[in-house]
Symmetry: C4
Subunit: 250 residues, 4 copies
């Protein structure tokens, strides 16, 4: 069993060149994941690969019909008129520090295979209280990218995001440098308590200006509600897990 397994659902993926990758894995307020899933559904992107790993939590996920599937991160591909896009979203980030590095490396292998030259990583920036005016904070992996990002409405705030970005959203930028892949991280301010469609709408707006992708944001709220149900079910499972650890042998 390999530490990370990637299954491609299309032959010769390297023949389907993509310009950019958009990452929206789970995180604060599910802001990034919500934007990525919204785009995938609105654009009708197609699933082209699945990623499984021993670095995920050791569990299966049960869908609402009772069918179990392995935790997956997924790659979707969309061919537009002006832009071909790879999406990275899924169930989990790595559950170990080293796994974060190795999985990000695998994501970059996929990006390179498709010829991606720029990655947008999307996330939330938790502020711990409700917000009226949602700012979209940004970080880049080359200062040549700053102008473009600021013009699209994102903010480089001197004291935020506090010195670092944890997980895939950060490491894709950092490890991308060595592969000459541009990286832009967009973080929507969020209370962090619930799946946050308003923060996602703000991130989507900046992303649209940067990429030219235009989609109707209406269904973000609906999708956030569905996601919230799922998140609540997973929290219940975590409670179950704690019980289980109390009785791990018999």
């Amino acid at each position: 069993m390999k530490d990370i397994t990637i299954d491609f659902f299309e032959e010769n993926p390297e023949d389907n060149r993509c310009d950019i990758m958009i990452e929206g894995l789970p995180g604060v307020g599910q802001v990034g994941k919500l934007v990525a899933e919204h785009l995938i559904e609105e654009l009708g992107a197609e699933k082209v690969a699945e990623i499984q790993s021993v670095f995920f939590p050791p569990q299966v996920i049960i869908d609402e019909t009772g069918v179990a599937h392995m935790p997956n991160n997924e790659i979707f591909r969309y061919s537009g008129k002006d832009l071909n896009i790879l999406f990275l979203t899924g169930d989990f980030q790595s559950s170990s520090p080293e796994g974060h590095y190795l999985m990000t490396d695998a994501y970059l292998d996929i990006a390179e295979k498709y010829g991606v030259k720029r990655i947008y990583t999307l996330g939330g920036y938790g502020v711990g209280h409700l917000i009226d005016e949602i700012r979209v904070l940004a970080a880049v992996n080359s200062d040549t990218l700053k102008d473009e990002v600021e013009k699209a409405g994102a903010v480089f705030a001197k004291e935020e995001p506090g010195g670092g970005i944890i997980g895939a959203s950060g490491l894709l930028l950092g490890l991308g440098v060595r592969r000459e892949i541009e990286g832009i991280c967009l973080m929507g301010e969020t209370s962090g308590y619930l799946v946050d469609p308003k923060s996602s709408a703000s991130v989507l707006e900046v992303l649209s200006k940067l990429t030219g992708i235009e989609v109707d944001p209406t269904k973000l709220v609906e999708r956030a509600d569905e996601m919230e149900v799922f998140v609540e079910r997973l929290k219940a499972m975590d409670q179950q897990k704690s019980d289980e650890e109390l009785s791990y042998i018999g």
Copy 2:
């Protein structure tokens, strides 16, 4: 020293074809382990393999006569008139996330060696309070299995088991897909506080309908009492362990 060591006690295990595997490793309320051990003893199944691993907690287990043995998971085999069965039970689940994946992979290697086409994984679903009517919750790794499971009396509850199943009971389903092994998980509701023979009886009832195996459930209560003594001894050991960690050097 290998990470996982499997010792077979029969030659050419691949010649002893089995139709199904029944897994009952330690977990909430010891529900699955109790059912598996009950079946093994009532049917007179024979031990055919032992599994040791560095992914187990770093300790030996002392039996009541003072003899130490390594933590083992064990494979038993039973040849019935209509059905040949492999049982998986034992002392521990993995103590690390990655170990859960690698050990489940090893369990599936064993299942494949014996030609197993379907795995039943058994466990408890902790609800944190006493229950009058015990439901048996189910999950499957293919929706073609649902009808059969529901007819046997198990329930696919939309909001339970909360989105996931942790450990071998879940991963056997998930990782079984790739090997084309059907997987059905049966979880008896339990308070989770004590070894629970009532929950086990409910799971056994559903399992009997699904497999045609019929055994007298009378001794479940007696076996639960014995298991409870062992569980209490292990809790005492955990207390000892905590003391030990406070003085790990001298």
Copy 3:
């Protein structure tokens, strides 16, 4: 850098056959370590090997003159009239579960190299309160050893040591089986709060009857006092470590 490094200080160690190994690594009340170090000094055993490992805590130990040395476990050898003995003692047990398995495997490699046929593992059994009559609890890895151990004054108590023995003292017994090395674990009851020379004296008494080794126990108290000073210094270091973790970057 290897995970475990063993340096021998004598050529052809396999030519210096030993009958038994006595293990006294750090643990509850330092009971085992104190017995082992006492025997090493009273008998004048000679250091023949050092073991270093990445599984130890990531630190050096500073002696009272200010000189740093790597954490070591050590092998001493003593050639008596009737009995040749290998001692295993040292600074630490493994800091990770898997490391416990791999280091115990390395200890057994050393034992086999010297032809050891039996291992005594020594430790404390913490009861959490002061004790008048100290019992020495025992476990063995073959029931053929029980008579001999009981005659020497140790007790096989049905409910103690609570179902398991954690760390090298347990795993040497468990993993020794596969190599056909007899294993006897002797655990002196102790409050567990301080280095406990009384508990060590009780263990030593049983061990003397089992092995025929006779040493004057007088200096056990003195050695316990010295060890206590060292233990206190290490506790102070742990406090320092906690502070350090609060400021791991700058």
Copy 4:
């Protein structure tokens, strides 16, 4: 992806012989890091290598302009009239125990490549309260070094540093022995609460006497203030991280 990646920025580094290495990685009160960075800037040392690793925390660091870079430890080189010096400083220590060993081994590989014969490791010794007279505590990896160190004003205190030194500052001494590299650790007493320029000044004074390097200490206070801002930003990020862990899936 390798566990540890070292990029050299000069060709044939082994041709640029250095006499000593000075290590100042993050730690209590940032005392060591502050001294190392101060020396690097005052002497105008040149960056000659960067070290990245999966053993670092899984994140990028955002500078104040919004540009992300991977966590780096860095090697600087200074060629003086009488002394050629290698400096080791950077963003993090290892986040896992085994990583501490493997990274220290990599640092020593670099030191050997440059022909280094002696390493000074610098750090703080947290006492938990404000101090009037700051002592510089010392440890060495050979007692032949003690006289020299005491003459320079450092103290070998019998009960401090409490029996051990954790992390690279300790392991460089311990693992250096096998490579015949002398090791001297200097620890300035500090409250441990803030970046501490006074403690750093005391360490610098002893180091200057030992090495003959003389630099103006005036800017230590200014640099400490800058470092404190960065430390505070990272603390804010840690808070963010805690929030993130509460919502790792969606």
